[in-house]
């Protein structure tokens, strides 16, 4: 595909890196020439320097022949205008924009239609990250919670621990004792590597287990692998930026939320917006402040400032002072690897969360959901099987007959709202939602091709 990415910031850069690996032609546009040069030396991309919303710049970037335009500059307005110009002057088929401001998002129906700015998909990173953190808080003990089928089914990453009835037992034991529709094990990682799943595989403490479960059974399924933490109640958020404030707003009715923000003026703005949250003015890593606000009784401490170092330090501080679970928002990929497995329980990478939602729109075929896992190395996709036995390579076949690439596995089928655990003799039917786990995403295009319907099918 021929893709233009406008804006070479954190998201733009990571996105370019991801897409280049999948053999797409990428043109990156930004005003910062140095940043573009840096990226060009690392990646095989074309770059254009200039304001992303100018028609001349877009033309130079090849907007006429582009299949897709992804506007992820730091300015909402630039993104809006660029998409509109792409639509009016260059007829770019698919336009994706990142919109941060809540004001625009509240009017999306009208504003983003073809009569308005003509945006096909709109991504709001703050929203995505907020949802992501919210789901983690909803399921204490989960490392990652991702939605399939509009949230009806969820993929959960969890570390098995003492107290889970199936820990230390082979998978066959789990299959025998758990009802079929409660959970499907998707993958087990041991020591950073995916291990092949067979009935004799034993779930061990320290593994990272991915499983899929219907929304209502997630808690139940988690309890089979570790003693369930009691539901969280007291949340402390450090950083009152867009993500922090939005998270507090979405949590404050159900949880007891405290929010720490450094800037006095910003504190005032947030405090006026949030009705039930206690907004505190101060430094997130200030020991005295944390102690006077009873950090030892906090169930979750989320550090969501825009400074990685502050997030890491305040999380370490909070953990030391007795917070049960600490989460840090970390933008630099290198830091994510550094802190994983240390005192910080969960490192949240905003790019990973955002890119997953952008990737969904880039994938071809009938892929409806893509989630980046394990810092982008693995991917879980939800794809709809179409066609019939003649036109499709998958429909009507036994699973054992489907030639999946190495490292890819079909982990669950969702048929008419019910989850089916796949066995070798299960057949895939048309309109099934198939969830495929790719331990290595370089095989992605093969999976895409596999699910494509032959030309004869209309």
């Amino acid at each position: 595909m021929n893709i233009i990415i406008l804006g070479a910031g954190q998201v733009g850069g990571t996105l370019a890196e991801n897409l280049v690996r999948e053999n797409n032609d990428i043109t990156l546009v930004d005003v910062n020439n140095k940043r573009l040069k840096d990226l060009q030396t690392k990646l095989d991309i074309r770059t254009v320097t200039g304001p992303a919303s100018h028609p001349s710049v877009l033309e130079e970037a090849g907007a006429k022949n582009a299949d897709m335009m992804i506007a992820v500059t730091s300015s909402d307005e630039t993104n809006l205008v660029a998409c509109h110009i792409g639509y009016q002057l260059f007829n770019t088929p698919t336009k994706l924009a990142r919109i941060r401001s809540r004001d625009y998002l509240e009017q999306q129906q009208v504003l983003f239609s073809t009569a308005g700015f003509a945006i096909d998909y709109c991504i709001s990173p703050e929203h995505v990250v907020t949802d992501y953190i919210r789901r983690l808080i909803e399921y204490p003990g989960a490392l990652q919670v991702l939605d399939f089928m509009k949230g009806e089914f969820r993929l959960v990453a969890i570390r098995p621990y003492f107290g889970g009835p199936f820990v230390g037992k082979p998978l066959s034991h789990l299959r025998e004792h758990m009802p079929e529709d409660v959970l499907c094990i998707a993958a087990i990682y041991r020591g950073n590597r995916s291990i092949p799943l067979n009935p004799n595989t034993v779930i061990e403490i320290g593994d990272e287990v991915f499983f899929i479960a219907p929304k209502e059974h997630v808690r139940n399924a988690m309890s089979s692998l570790r003693q369930l933490d009691e539901p969280y109640k007291r949340i402390m958020i450090a950083g009152g930026g867009n993500i922090g404030a939005e998270l507090a707003a979405s949590l404050e009715t159900e949880y007891q939320v405290k929010l720490i923000e450094h800037n006095t003026e910003r504190c005032r703005v947030i405090a006026e917006r949030l009705k039930h949250t206690t907004v505190l003015q101060g430094d997130a890593s200030d020991r005295e402040l944390l102690m006077s606000e009873n950090i030892e009784y906090a169930h979750v401490f989320c550090a969501l400032t825009n400074d990685d170092e502050v997030n890491i330090m305040s999380c370490l501080q909070a953990k030391r002072l007795g917070a049960r679970q600490v989460m840090a928002l970390i933008t630099r990929t290198a830091y994510v690897d550094l802190v994983e497995g240390s005192d910080i329980d969960i490192a949240i990478s905003p790019q990973q969360a955002t890119i997953g939602s952008i990737l969904t729109h880039i994938r071809q075929g009938d892929i409806v959901n893509v989630h980046s896992l394990r810092r982008g190395a693995a991917e879980a996709i939800e794809v709809i099987a179409h066609g019939n036995e003649k036109t499709s390579k998958v429909v009507g076949n036994y699973l054992s007959q489907i030639k999946l690439p190495k490292d890819a596995s079909i982990v669950a089928l969702i048929r008419e709202g019910k989850m089916i655990v796949p066995y070798e003799d299960t057949t895939i039917q048309s309109e099934d939602h198939v969830i495929v786990f790719l331990a290595d995403k370089k095989h992605l295009s093969e999976v895409e091709r596999l699910f494509q319907v032959n030309v004869g099918y209309i």
Partner: protein
Amino acid sequence: MQYGGMIRILGLFLMAFSLTMLPPLGVAAFYKDGAWMAFSWSFLLTLAAGFLLWFPVRGHAPPLKIREGFFIIVLFWSVLTFFGSLPFMLTFIPHLSFTDAAFETMSGLTTTGATVLTDIDYLPHAIKLYHQQLQFFGGMAILVLAVAILPMLKVGGLQLYRRETPGPAKDTQLTPRIMQTAKALWYIYVGLTLLCFLAYWACGMKLFDAVGEAFSTVSTGGFSMHNDNFAHYHGHLIGSVAMIFMILGSTNFSLHFLALREKSLKHYFYDAEFRTFLLFLFLSACLTILTLLIAQVYEEPRTGIYKAIFNAVSIGTSTGFLSASFQSWPLFISVLFMLAGIVGGCAASTSGGIKVIRALILYGQGKRELKRLIHPHAVLPLTLNSRVLSDSLTQSVWGYVAVFFSVFILLVLILMGEGLPFDGAVGAVVACLANLGVGMGGVSDNFVSLNDSTKWVLTFSMLGGRLEIFTLLLLFTPAFWKK
């Protein structure tokens, strides 16, 4: 000070006010009750005084400054009280002294409702009408004062209504806005009075009574047409009508304005002040009922319940109609009523007291201070109707309440010095300073027994209470008079 401009306005006011003596004049002629001459003289004197004030300076129309605005407001009530008291003095019945007449007129014009008239039933019809009418016109003036002028002058935190109310008060321009605002408010006010009159009439009141009582109901004044006040009307229907219109009269008129313009009642229920006001009325009615039932004041519990609700509403709206003398009820009720009277009704209405909105802001502020003790670092904005209140606004509310209570204590001390017992002094001050009209102790519903100097103190405190104290106090500060 633009004295010429102020005198011109005062002259105009007086000439307009002289016209209000014409309806009683007509009534006097119709009933032939002997008050004809008194009203003719009053009319001519007032008109002439107004004309003489106005004529020499008729060309002066300079824009008035805020300082002069304060002065005019005080002058307006004082001068009108002086001329308004003429009919009371000139008639053979009641033929009041100047002190009594001024007290009575001020009580009418500030819609207080405290009276020195002893035998209302035997007054000439013209005086009765004039008496009630004073409250009606007082209410009109108060509305403009409360909705348009005081918020603009930022008296005691009332600027809250300046920007918030998307109603009549919107711009910052003085004259055209006041005229428009006044018109809109007067339509509502006159409309409500008319409805009230029709309702009374339909419920079986005599025509003349219905007019008079409607005048003092919507203006939350509390003058009555009869010696035994509202106990004169039997049956609960008239009482219920009165309660409804008293509550409407002490509701923020901006809410009426919004409800009319957008043809929906939702604004009433979204308004925190109105909801709190209803809650206060409800609570004080409940407590009164409970006390009456426990003390078994009435043999028939239903009579007790009706009288309790009526009196609680009448006091809570700072009207002061009485369907029973609550002096004979347990003392607890008297004190409760005095407290309810101090709080009063909503701001921008015809009611008195410190107003529910200020009580609400103080409550929020108190809650905030408590929370600040637990979370010293917390940022706690104070909100009302989901709007954030600035610190300067809460400060001026604090300031107002502090001054109110200082003046209150001072007045109680003065009255006790004049020889009143403690409860009587407190009752009289609440009755006048909160524009309630009903006190406790010796001076519950009639003030005739007090000596002249006490009456002047009370006349003065009625004016102070009505002008939110600051407006009046300002005139006594040296800085006000400095050039």
